[in-house]
Symmetry: C2
Subunit: 185 residues, 2 copies
Amino acid sequence: MKINHTKFAILGLLTTGCHTGYSIKQMIDGSLNHFWKISYGQIYPTLKILVEEGLATVKETIQEGKPNKKEYRITNKGMEALQNWLRSPIEDIPFEKNEFILKLFFSRHEPETTAIVKLETYLERLQARYSTYSSIESMIVTSLSNEEDASYWLFTLDYGIRTTKAAMDWCRDTIQKLKEMGNAK
Amino acid sequence: MKINHTKFAILGLLTTGCHTGYSIKQMIDGSLNHFWKISYGQIYPTLKILVEEGLATVKETIQEGKPNKKEYRITNKGMEALQNWLRSPIEDIPFEKNEFILKLFFSRHEPETTAIVKLETYLERLQARYSTYSSIESMIVTSLSNEEDASYWLFTLDYGIRTTKAAMDWCRDTIQKLKEMGNAK
DNA sequence: TGGAGCATGTAAGATGTTACATGATTCG
DNA sequence: CGAATCATGTAACATCTTACATGCTCCA
Protein backbone atom coordinates (compact mmCIF):
# COMPACT_ATOMS: atom_id res chain seq x y z
CA MET A 1 0.00 0.00 0.00
CA LYS A 2 1.34 3.36 -1.07
CA ILE A 3 1.02 6.35 1.25
CA ASN A 4 0.49 9.89 0.09
CA HIS A 5 3.20 11.66 2.07
CA THR A 6 2.29 15.09 0.76
CA LYS A 7 -1.00 14.88 2.59
CA PHE A 8 0.82 14.28 5.86
CA ALA A 9 3.35 17.00 5.17
CA ILE A 10 0.46 19.47 4.98
CA LEU A 11 -1.15 17.95 8.06
CA GLY A 12 2.13 18.35 9.92
CA LEU A 13 2.53 21.93 8.82
CA LEU A 14 -0.83 22.67 10.40
CA THR A 15 0.85 21.93 13.75
CA THR A 16 3.61 24.46 13.22
CA GLY A 17 1.50 27.60 13.33
CA CYS A 18 0.51 27.63 9.67
CA HIS A 19 -3.21 27.82 9.17
CA THR A 20 -3.77 29.01 5.61
CA GLY A 21 -2.79 27.56 2.26
CA TYR A 22 -0.69 30.62 1.67
CA SER A 23 1.31 30.40 4.89
CA ILE A 24 1.78 26.64 4.39
CA LYS A 25 3.32 27.39 1.02
CA GLN A 26 5.65 29.95 2.55
CA MET A 27 6.76 27.54 5.23
CA ILE A 28 7.45 24.87 2.60
CA ASP A 29 9.50 27.24 0.50
CA GLY A 30 11.41 28.51 3.48
CA SER A 31 12.07 25.45 5.58
CA LEU A 32 11.00 22.24 3.87
CA ASN A 33 12.22 23.12 0.40
CA HIS A 34 15.44 21.10 0.56
CA PHE A 35 13.64 17.81 1.08
CA TRP A 36 10.02 18.36 0.15
CA LYS A 37 8.24 20.64 -2.33
CA ILE A 38 4.53 21.28 -2.68
CA SER A 39 2.80 23.59 -5.14
CA TYR A 40 -0.47 25.47 -4.68
CA GLY A 41 -1.99 23.06 -7.15
CA GLN A 42 -1.59 20.42 -4.47
CA ILE A 43 -2.04 22.43 -1.30
CA TYR A 44 -5.55 23.76 -1.82
CA PRO A 45 -7.12 20.51 -3.06
CA THR A 46 -5.39 18.57 -0.27
CA LEU A 47 -6.63 20.99 2.39
CA LYS A 48 -10.14 20.37 1.09
CA ILE A 49 -9.67 16.60 1.31
CA LEU A 50 -8.29 16.90 4.84
CA VAL A 51 -11.52 18.62 5.90
CA GLU A 52 -13.65 16.04 4.11
CA GLU A 53 -11.84 13.28 5.97
CA GLY A 54 -12.30 15.00 9.30
CA LEU A 55 -8.57 15.51 9.82
CA ALA A 56 -8.88 19.28 9.81
CA THR A 57 -11.51 22.00 10.16
CA VAL A 58 -11.94 25.28 8.25
CA LYS A 59 -13.21 28.63 9.31
CA GLU A 60 -13.47 31.54 6.94
CA THR A 61 -12.10 34.68 8.48
CA ILE A 62 -13.06 38.10 7.21
CA GLN A 63 -10.14 40.45 7.44
CA GLU A 64 -10.26 44.16 7.09
CA GLY A 65 -7.75 45.60 4.70
CA LYS A 66 -6.75 42.12 3.56
CA PRO A 67 -8.45 39.46 1.50
CA ASN A 68 -10.50 36.90 3.38
CA LYS A 69 -8.74 33.77 4.39
CA LYS A 70 -9.64 30.25 5.32
CA GLU A 71 -8.10 29.12 8.54
CA TYR A 72 -7.45 25.43 8.89
CA ARG A 73 -6.91 23.64 12.20
CA ILE A 74 -5.89 20.07 12.81
CA THR A 75 -8.47 17.92 14.65
CA ASN A 76 -7.81 15.18 17.20
CA LYS A 77 -8.41 12.64 14.48
CA GLY A 78 -5.90 14.49 12.33
CA MET A 79 -3.36 14.47 15.13
CA GLU A 80 -3.80 10.73 15.48
CA ALA A 81 -3.37 10.23 11.75
CA LEU A 82 -0.19 12.32 11.85
CA GLN A 83 1.29 10.28 14.69
CA ASN A 84 0.32 7.09 12.94
CA TRP A 85 2.17 8.19 9.86
CA LEU A 86 5.20 9.23 11.92
CA ARG A 87 5.27 5.81 13.55
CA SER A 88 5.05 3.92 10.25
CA PRO A 89 8.38 2.68 8.91
CA ILE A 90 10.01 4.55 6.07
CA GLU A 91 9.56 2.83 2.76
CA ASP A 92 12.57 3.59 0.66
CA ILE A 93 15.76 5.39 1.20
CA PRO A 94 15.43 8.55 -0.88
CA PHE A 95 17.20 9.13 -4.08
CA GLU A 96 18.04 12.42 -5.62
CA LYS A 97 16.81 13.09 -9.13
CA ASN A 98 19.89 14.96 -10.24
CA GLU A 99 19.97 16.41 -13.73
CA PHE A 100 23.48 17.68 -13.27
CA ILE A 101 24.99 14.34 -12.27
CA LEU A 102 23.06 12.66 -15.08
CA LYS A 103 24.74 14.97 -17.57
CA LEU A 104 28.14 14.39 -16.02
CA PHE A 105 27.61 10.66 -16.44
CA PHE A 106 27.51 11.16 -20.21
CA SER A 107 30.15 13.88 -20.34
CA ARG A 108 32.69 12.02 -22.44
CA HIS A 109 30.54 13.22 -25.35
CA GLU A 110 31.46 16.82 -24.64
CA PRO A 111 34.78 18.64 -24.19
CA GLU A 112 36.33 18.71 -20.71
CA THR A 113 36.16 22.48 -20.57
CA THR A 114 32.37 22.36 -20.93
CA ALA A 115 32.13 19.90 -18.07
CA ILE A 116 34.34 22.13 -15.94
CA VAL A 117 32.14 25.15 -16.60
CA LYS A 118 29.10 23.13 -15.55
CA LEU A 119 30.83 22.00 -12.39
CA GLU A 120 31.71 25.58 -11.55
CA THR A 121 28.12 26.68 -12.02
CA TYR A 122 26.95 23.82 -9.88
CA LEU A 123 29.43 24.72 -7.16
CA GLU A 124 28.19 28.30 -7.12
CA ARG A 125 24.63 27.18 -6.65
CA LEU A 126 25.64 24.81 -3.89
CA GLN A 127 27.41 27.68 -2.17
CA ALA A 128 24.28 29.80 -2.43
CA ARG A 129 22.25 26.99 -0.93
CA TYR A 130 24.80 26.59 1.82
CA SER A 131 24.53 30.24 2.84
CA THR A 132 20.75 30.05 2.80
CA TYR A 133 20.87 27.09 5.15
CA SER A 134 23.34 28.81 7.42
CA SER A 135 21.20 31.91 7.71
CA ILE A 136 18.06 29.87 8.40
CA GLU A 137 20.03 28.04 11.06
CA SER A 138 21.11 31.17 12.88
CA MET A 139 17.56 32.50 12.59
CA ILE A 140 16.18 29.39 14.30
CA VAL A 141 18.87 29.46 16.97
CA THR A 142 18.29 33.09 17.90
CA SER A 143 14.54 33.44 17.54
CA LEU A 144 13.14 29.99 18.16
CA SER A 145 15.38 28.49 20.80
CA ASN A 146 12.48 27.96 23.18
CA GLU A 147 10.12 26.65 20.55
CA GLU A 148 9.37 22.95 20.84
CA ASP A 149 10.01 22.30 17.18
CA ALA A 150 13.43 23.96 17.19
CA SER A 151 15.70 21.00 17.85
CA TYR A 152 14.15 18.81 15.18
CA TRP A 153 14.23 21.63 12.68
CA LEU A 154 17.89 22.09 13.39
CA PHE A 155 18.53 18.40 12.83
CA THR A 156 16.93 18.48 9.40
CA LEU A 157 18.78 21.65 8.54
CA ASP A 158 22.06 20.11 9.67
CA TYR A 159 21.38 17.23 7.29
CA GLY A 160 21.08 19.72 4.46
CA ILE A 161 24.20 21.60 5.52
CA ARG A 162 26.37 18.51 5.75
CA THR A 163 25.32 16.89 2.50
CA THR A 164 25.64 20.22 0.70
CA LYS A 165 29.11 20.67 2.12
CA ALA A 166 30.12 17.18 0.97
CA ALA A 167 28.82 17.98 -2.51
CA MET A 168 30.80 21.24 -2.57
CA ASP A 169 34.02 19.44 -1.63
CA TRP A 170 33.35 16.88 -4.31
CA CYS A 171 32.83 19.67 -6.86
CA ARG A 172 36.16 21.31 -6.09
CA ASP A 173 38.04 18.00 -6.23
CA THR A 174 36.36 16.97 -9.46
CA ILE A 175 37.16 20.28 -11.13
CA GLN A 176 40.77 19.71 -10.12
CA LYS A 177 40.79 16.19 -11.55
CA LEU A 178 39.28 17.35 -14.82
CA LYS A 179 41.88 20.07 -15.15
CA GLU A 180 44.63 17.52 -14.64
CA MET A 181 43.06 15.28 -17.27
CA GLY A 182 43.10 18.22 -19.67
CA ASN A 183 46.74 19.02 -18.95
CA ALA A 184 47.81 15.41 -19.41
CA LYS A 185 46.71 15.45 -23.02
CA MET B 1 10.51 25.51 -22.00
CA LYS B 2 10.70 22.32 -20.05
CA ILE B 3 12.98 19.51 -21.19
CA ASN B 4 12.21 15.84 -20.79
CA HIS B 5 15.47 14.64 -19.29
CA THR B 6 14.38 11.02 -19.14
CA LYS B 7 14.35 10.90 -22.89
CA PHE B 8 17.98 12.02 -22.99
CA ALA B 9 18.96 9.64 -20.24
CA ILE B 10 17.76 6.78 -22.43
CA LEU B 11 19.45 8.29 -25.46
CA GLY B 12 22.68 8.53 -23.50
CA LEU B 13 22.43 4.96 -22.32
CA LEU B 14 22.28 3.89 -25.95
CA THR B 15 25.89 5.13 -26.21
CA THR B 16 27.11 2.97 -23.33
CA GLY B 17 26.65 -0.41 -24.94
CA CYS B 18 22.99 -0.86 -24.01
CA HIS B 19 20.81 -1.62 -27.00
CA THR B 20 17.63 -3.18 -25.64
CA GLY B 21 14.98 -1.88 -23.26
CA TYR B 22 15.91 -4.66 -20.90
CA SER B 23 19.62 -3.87 -20.76
CA ILE B 24 18.90 -0.16 -20.40
CA LYS B 25 16.80 -0.96 -17.36
CA GLN B 26 19.61 -3.02 -15.89
CA MET B 27 22.13 -0.26 -16.43
CA ILE B 28 19.81 2.25 -14.76
CA ASP B 29 19.28 0.02 -11.76
CA GLY B 30 22.96 -0.72 -11.47
CA SER B 31 24.66 2.56 -12.17
CA LEU B 32 22.22 5.43 -12.53
CA ASN B 33 19.91 4.47 -9.71
CA HIS B 34 21.31 6.92 -7.15
CA PHE B 35 20.46 9.96 -9.24
CA TRP B 36 17.98 8.83 -11.88
CA LYS B 37 15.31 6.13 -12.01
CA ILE B 38 13.31 4.95 -15.00
CA SER B 39 10.67 2.22 -15.10
CA TYR B 40 9.78 -0.07 -18.00
CA GLY B 41 6.57 1.89 -18.30
CA GLN B 42 8.70 4.78 -19.50
CA ILE B 43 11.53 2.98 -21.27
CA TYR B 44 9.58 1.15 -23.94
CA PRO B 45 7.30 4.02 -24.96
CA THR B 46 10.27 6.41 -25.00
CA LEU B 47 12.33 4.09 -27.18
CA LYS B 48 9.42 4.09 -29.63
CA ILE B 49 9.30 7.88 -29.64
CA LEU B 50 13.06 8.07 -30.15
CA VAL B 51 12.69 6.02 -33.33
CA GLU B 52 9.75 8.11 -34.51
CA GLU B 53 11.84 11.23 -34.09
CA GLY B 54 14.76 9.75 -35.98
CA LEU B 55 17.06 9.83 -32.97
CA ALA B 56 17.43 6.05 -32.93
CA THR B 57 16.86 3.02 -35.13
CA VAL B 58 15.45 -0.41 -34.31
CA LYS B 59 16.24 -3.83 -35.66
CA GLU B 60 14.48 -6.94 -34.48
CA THR B 61 16.94 -9.72 -33.78
CA ILE B 62 15.87 -13.34 -33.66
CA GLN B 63 17.83 -15.21 -31.05
CA GLU B 64 18.00 -18.94 -30.63
CA GLY B 65 17.32 -20.14 -27.14
CA LYS B 66 16.30 -16.68 -26.05
CA PRO B 67 13.32 -14.48 -26.78
CA ASN B 68 13.61 -12.11 -29.68
CA LYS B 69 14.88 -8.67 -28.93
CA LYS B 70 14.75 -5.26 -30.47
CA GLU B 71 18.11 -3.63 -30.81
CA TYR B 72 18.19 0.11 -30.72
CA ARG B 73 21.07 2.23 -32.03
CA ILE B 74 21.58 5.95 -31.74
CA THR B 75 21.62 7.86 -35.04
CA ASN B 76 23.77 10.85 -35.97
CA LYS B 77 20.78 13.04 -35.36
CA GLY B 78 20.36 11.39 -31.97
CA MET B 79 24.01 12.01 -31.14
CA GLU B 80 23.59 15.65 -32.01
CA ALA B 81 20.49 15.90 -29.84
CA LEU B 82 22.40 14.30 -26.97
CA GLN B 83 25.28 16.75 -27.25
CA ASN B 84 22.86 19.62 -27.49
CA TRP B 85 21.23 18.55 -24.27
CA LEU B 86 24.62 18.12 -22.59
CA ARG B 87 25.58 21.63 -23.61
CA SER B 88 22.36 23.19 -22.33
CA PRO B 89 22.64 24.75 -18.87
CA ILE B 90 21.22 22.92 -15.90
CA GLU B 91 17.89 24.31 -14.81
CA ASP B 92 17.62 23.78 -11.12
CA ILE B 93 19.85 22.50 -8.46
CA PRO B 94 18.33 19.17 -7.49
CA PHE B 95 16.45 18.56 -4.33
CA GLU B 96 15.96 15.30 -2.60
CA LYS B 97 12.42 14.20 -1.86
CA ASN B 98 13.19 12.69 1.50
CA GLU B 99 10.40 10.99 3.38
CA PHE B 100 12.66 10.26 6.30
CA ILE B 101 13.78 13.85 6.86
CA LEU B 102 10.19 15.01 6.43
CA LYS B 103 9.16 12.75 9.30
CA LEU B 104 12.05 13.93 11.44
CA PHE B 105 10.91 17.50 10.89
CA PHE B 106 7.67 16.70 12.70
CA SER B 107 9.20 14.37 15.28
CA ARG B 108 8.34 16.39 18.35
CA HIS B 109 4.96 14.66 18.03
CA GLU B 110 6.51 11.30 18.76
CA PRO B 111 8.74 9.98 21.57
CA GLU B 112 12.51 10.42 21.20
CA THR B 113 13.07 6.69 21.29
CA THR B 114 10.93 6.25 18.17
CA ALA B 115 12.95 8.87 16.36
CA ILE B 116 16.17 7.14 17.41
CA VAL B 117 14.96 3.80 16.06
CA LYS B 118 14.13 5.47 12.76
CA LEU B 119 17.54 7.09 12.60
CA GLU B 120 19.19 3.75 13.24
CA THR B 121 17.21 2.12 10.44
CA TYR B 122 18.12 4.96 8.15
CA LEU B 123 21.79 4.63 9.05
CA GLU B 124 21.71 0.92 8.25
CA ARG B 125 20.28 1.60 4.82
CA LEU B 126 22.84 4.29 4.15
CA GLN B 127 25.57 1.84 5.08
CA ALA B 128 24.13 -0.72 2.67
CA ARG B 129 24.08 1.90 -0.05
CA TYR B 130 27.63 2.88 0.78
CA SER B 131 28.88 -0.69 0.34
CA THR B 132 27.01 -1.01 -2.93
CA TYR B 133 28.71 2.11 -4.22
CA SER B 134 32.10 0.93 -3.05
CA SER B 135 31.76 -2.40 -4.80
CA ILE B 136 30.57 -0.76 -8.02
CA GLU B 137 33.57 1.55 -7.76
CA SER B 138 36.09 -1.26 -7.47
CA MET B 139 34.33 -3.09 -10.29
CA ILE B 140 34.72 -0.07 -12.57
CA VAL B 141 38.34 0.45 -11.55
CA THR B 142 39.37 -3.14 -12.20
CA SER B 143 37.31 -4.03 -15.26
CA LEU B 144 36.71 -0.78 -17.07
CA SER B 145 39.88 1.22 -16.57
CA ASN B 146 40.47 1.50 -20.30
CA GLU B 147 36.87 2.29 -21.13
CA GLU B 148 36.25 5.87 -22.23
CA ASP B 149 33.30 6.31 -19.92
CA ALA B 150 35.17 5.14 -16.82
CA SER B 151 36.43 8.44 -15.42
CA TYR B 152 33.05 10.17 -15.64
CA TRP B 153 31.32 7.20 -14.12
CA LEU B 154 33.76 7.31 -11.25
CA PHE B 155 33.06 10.99 -10.72
CA THR B 156 29.33 10.42 -10.41
CA LEU B 157 29.90 7.47 -8.12
CA ASP B 158 32.24 9.52 -5.98
CA TYR B 159 29.46 12.08 -5.63
CA GLY B 160 27.19 9.35 -4.29
CA ILE B 161 29.87 8.02 -1.96
CA ARG B 162 30.68 11.38 -0.45
CA THR B 163 27.14 12.57 0.10
CA THR B 164 26.19 9.19 1.54
CA LYS B 165 29.14 9.33 3.90
CA ALA B 166 28.14 12.81 5.05
CA ALA B 167 24.61 11.57 5.70
CA MET B 168 25.97 8.63 7.70
CA ASP B 169 28.05 10.91 9.89
CA TRP B 170 25.05 13.13 10.42
CA CYS B 171 22.98 10.11 11.43
CA ARG B 172 25.46 9.03 14.08
CA ASP B 173 25.78 12.51 15.52
CA THR B 174 22.03 13.06 15.57
CA ILE B 175 21.43 9.74 17.35
CA GLN B 176 23.94 10.89 19.94
CA LYS B 177 22.24 14.25 20.37
CA LEU B 178 18.83 12.65 20.77
CA LYS B 179 20.15 10.29 23.40
CA GLU B 180 21.56 13.23 25.32
CA MET B 181 18.21 15.00 25.06
CA GLY B 182 16.57 11.90 26.53
CA ASN B 183 19.05 11.70 29.40
CA ALA B 184 18.66 15.35 30.24
CA LYS B 185 15.01 14.83 31.08
C1' DT C 1 0.27 53.88 -11.26
C1' DG C 2 2.51 49.89 -10.84
C1' DG C 3 4.56 46.30 -8.30
C1' DA C 4 4.90 43.44 -4.23
C1' DG C 5 2.63 40.87 -0.81
C1' DC C 6 -1.57 38.55 0.68
C1' DA C 7 -4.94 35.22 -0.60
C1' DT C 8 -7.59 31.29 -3.12
C1' DG C 9 -8.38 28.38 -6.53
C1' DT C 10 -8.77 25.26 -11.15
C1' DA C 11 -7.79 22.84 -15.55
C1' DA C 12 -4.78 20.78 -18.50
C1' DG C 13 -1.02 18.43 -19.19
C1' DA C 14 3.38 16.17 -18.05
C1' DT C 15 5.46 12.62 -15.71
C1' DG C 16 5.96 8.51 -13.44
C1' DT C 17 4.54 4.02 -11.05
C1' DT C 18 2.21 -0.36 -10.60
C1' DA C 19 0.10 -4.19 -11.87
C1' DC C 20 -0.71 -7.08 -15.30
C1' DA C 21 0.06 -10.08 -19.52
C1' DT C 22 3.13 -13.17 -22.13
C1' DG C 23 6.62 -16.69 -22.96
C1' DA C 24 11.11 -18.90 -23.79
C1' DT C 25 15.38 -21.15 -21.57
C1' DT C 26 18.61 -22.51 -18.04
C1' DC C 27 19.99 -24.21 -13.72
C1' DG C 28 19.50 -26.47 -9.39
C1' DC D 1 9.38 -28.73 -11.24
C1' DG D 2 10.05 -24.21 -9.89
C1' DA D 3 12.72 -20.08 -9.81
C1' DA D 4 15.62 -16.92 -12.10
C1' DT D 5 16.99 -14.51 -16.18
C1' DC D 6 15.94 -12.70 -20.55
C1' DA D 7 12.63 -9.98 -23.04
C1' DT D 8 8.59 -6.71 -24.46
C1' DG D 9 4.81 -4.24 -23.72
C1' DT D 10 0.24 -1.64 -22.00
C1' DA D 11 -3.53 0.41 -19.23
C1' DA D 12 -4.86 2.50 -15.24
C1' DC D 13 -3.69 5.20 -11.93
C1' DA D 14 -1.22 8.48 -8.92
C1' DT D 15 1.22 12.48 -8.60
C1' DC D 16 2.82 16.89 -9.58
C1' DT D 17 3.65 21.21 -12.33
C1' DT D 18 2.29 25.09 -14.94
C1' DA D 19 -0.39 28.45 -16.52
C1' DC D 20 -4.16 30.93 -15.77
C1' DA D 21 -7.87 33.62 -13.26
C1' DT D 22 -9.15 36.88 -9.59
C1' DG D 23 -8.76 40.82 -6.47
C1' DC D 24 -7.54 43.43 -2.38
C1' DT D 25 -4.03 46.76 0.07
C1' DC D 26 0.10 49.16 0.91
C1' DC D 27 3.94 51.64 -0.43
C1' DA D 28 7.12 54.05 -3.42
